[in-house]
Assembly symmetry: C2
């Protein structure tokens, strides 16, 4: 049973950015906006292997997310969670194309660097707050 509420799921399914916070190895926080997806249970983030947020969650799986509605910034969902899986390979490569479709209407993700490998990060929601 996922902790995602109906309103949290809708926000994650919408064309909204999520602000993902992780902790750096030196104990300082890090935050970046990113595209987001959900399978109804997990929060799904797709990033490139070796980027700061990927390196951070490999060492410290605890994350926090804030999502606001693009059309109303006072409509807010906060999620605390834990990264439970890192998926690379074809699934992750196809998933970034799905994200490019969702957010930009494109069939292929256009910003791949040469040799870039994508990773799909699965986050188990621990606490979900809707405001």
């Amino acid at each position: 049973m996922s902790k995602l509420t109906e309103s949290a799921r809708k926000m994650l399914e919408g064309k909204n950015f999520v602000y993902l916070a992780t902790v750096n190895p030196d104990g300082t926080p890090q935050v970046t906006p990113t595209w987001v997806d959900t399978d109804g249970h997990f929060v799904l983030i797709n990033t490139a292997v070796g980027r700061v947020k990927h390196r951070n969650v490999k060492k410290n799986p605890h994350v926090a997310l804030a999502i606001t509605d693009q059309t109303n910034p006072y409509n807010l969902v906060l999620i605390r969670g834990k990264v439970v899986e890192h998926v690379t390979g074809q699934v992750a490569e196809e998933h970034i194309d799905k994200m490019a479709k969702k957010y930009r209407g494109l069939d292929k993700y256009p910003n791949r660097s040469p040799g870039e490998q994508r990773v799909l990060i699965k986050i188990e929601p621990v606490k979900v707050i809707t405001r």
Copy 2:
């Protein structure tokens, strides 16, 4: 000399929300959207005394912020910084009214709880990245 670039200053002066990440006492990250201001040198955040973000930065002054342009979410400023001052009293109370004016066009901040004390958190920017 502040590390704030001209474009970072403009983003902070604009009617944009900032996503402020702090670290909880248990080492997990926390992130919330908030109103923001700058005096040209510091990043200024106004919160209520005793709230999670205030408690966190009293224990661990390291913060990270992400700001995107309301009108173009791909226009991004990332700031790593350190809380160097906590100002309470009249200055902080007047400052939240200034924020209510900036973001909502109101002369007085309308959401004060009974007995609420405001605190103006001054953040020294350590690293500023504009994308």
